[in-house]
Symmetry: C2
Subunit: 302 residues, 2 copies
């Protein structure tokens, strides 16, 4: 099961009733945070989530509304008892930017490691796999795909064919390998092909691109920026490197995702729901995000 | 008239219902902000104040809860049209810390200048005079006294004795000097001794010290930290470099201030009012601060 929670859904500046865009993805006691603007620590607490389990922080780009909350967030993580290392994934310069912000958080009790985006990079945290891909914004910016991978079904015939002792069968369904009497057995000796996992794609801030549709392909949940609802604001969207709701819907359609949530609303967009039809008529399974919107995504029954 | 507004009254971390300690002092279209933690920009907006008129930002020290909101705050200032320079006053290292945080706000449309605290420093903004003094915390930390200075009354006898032409009288009550027919006249030629102004003293984070009482002497309003209400938390206060309500009240008494507001409450102190008596029985004119608490301080009638 993968829980996805929008901590905030605003762009540019935090508002009294809308936190800056941020998303938490959690599975099996591990969490990944995407973006951390001013106030994200309050939003996380309000949504009832824990700081201590956040192993990875993904930063889409270095505009303040996506990163300004980092020093306070990390200090609160340390207040909440985090001592295990934290990994940051972001565009080139991620380490410099995070360390600069941490001038006011100099003595954190955990190590930080940094992964700069490169083509085909991926990072695995147990069975969560994070990939990133380039977006098209006014500065270097990346989107993220997080997949909860799922092993194949137990295949008794295969296990017998591979002469795996019966008492190893259960163990190998949970571990990649195990040893018995000097022989190493691997999980692929007892399992069928990996089954379909759960895929979530998150992208903001960006203009629509084919790369987004390719990377979001087949996602259970596609979380996409929709800075402007009104189709009349296309010029403004182009100029600022953002999207209309309808452009996000076109992407969702091309990527054949199961559902799309819109996020990163302009401060001037006080009622995103008023424009939802402009997206729904292109891609019906569209919903407006809101702070605290959450879903538990499950593996298929099979 | 000097307006004083507490934008936030919390310590350590921003809470859903309490912003981090910050104070805005405004007079005649100019404002001074003291401290700027995560969320201060939202608090300022909620209190109905303007970003554009903030000429000076005072930073007490570099713990994140007093400075982490800077990059977002400055960006919102620029969004609100500020182009005039902004002056920062803070402990040694103020420029390095502000510039490090501004790694995510690299293109601000206004210049920033920096004044590092030194003994006897003062900075004047029209008739507002800002002074700073050392506090006693776990890191280098300073308190601030802001005085709204008031010129003397018009003295007709003095003006005549100094042979100041009558048509210059009004001008010299508003300007330090003016010229007529090649002769320079100064305001002290027509004015009596400077009258009592308005003095406000703000200090957090700190243990009580004699220096605080000396600097707060005779303030109309003394805003002082009270991290802990319960007198039983003295050891905790000493250890963390903070104060009890009752210790703040002792200072207010020694400094003979007109009234005191407590601020910078511990996140664990959910109801500061429950402990107000511990201060009031030492110094009766004590009030608990709260986010948005505001007062207009007026010159004496004379």
């Amino acid at each position: 099961m993968l829980n996805v929670t929008l901590l905030g859904t605003g762009g540019t500046m935090p508002l009294k009733n809308r936190w800056l865009s941020s998303c938490l993805l959690s599975s099996n006691g591990h969490s990944v945070l995407i973006d951390c603007g001013e106030g994200t620590q309050i939003a996380l607490k309000a949504a009832g989530h824990k700081f201590k389990s956040i192993d990875v922080i993904c930063i889409s780009h270095f505009h303040a509304d996506h990163i300004s909350g980092i020093p306070g967030f990390l200090l609160t993580m340390s207040n909440e008892g985090r001592i295990k290392p934290v990994t940051f994934i972001g565009p080139k310069g991620i380490e410099h930017n995070i360390r600069s912000l941490c001038v006011i958080a100099p003595n954190l009790p955990f190590d930080m490691s940094f992964i700069e985006y490169t083509d085909n990079m991926e990072f695995c945290l147990e069975n969560m796999r994070i990939r990133a891909f380039p977006l098209k914004h006014s500065v270097r910016c990346i989107g993220f795909t997080l997949e909860l991978l799922r092993v194949g079904k137990f295949d008794r015939d295969k296990a017998e064919k591979n002469n795996v002792p019966m008492r190893m069968w259960k163990l190998l369904q949970k571990n990649e390998s195990a040893e018995l009497d000097g022989t190493v057995y691997t999980s692929d000796m007892v399992l069928g092909k990996p089954r379909k996992g759960i895929k979530v794609t998150y992208c903001t801030d960006t203009r629509p691109t084919e790369t987004i549709a390719e990377n979001a392909l087949g996602s259970e949940l596609f979380i996409c920026e929709g800075m402007f609802g009104d189709n009349g604001k296309l010029a403004r969207a182009k100029e600022s490197g953002h999207m209309l709701f309808s452009e996000a819907a076109e992407l969702a359609l091309r990527a054949n995702v199961k559902q799309m949530w819109l996020t990163h609303f302009s401060p001037s967009l006080t009622d995103p729901e008023a424009y939802i039809d402009s997206a729904k008529k292109i891609y019906p399974s569209t919903e407006c995000g809101y702070d605290g919107k959450t879903i538990d995504l499950m593996f298929d029954k099979e």
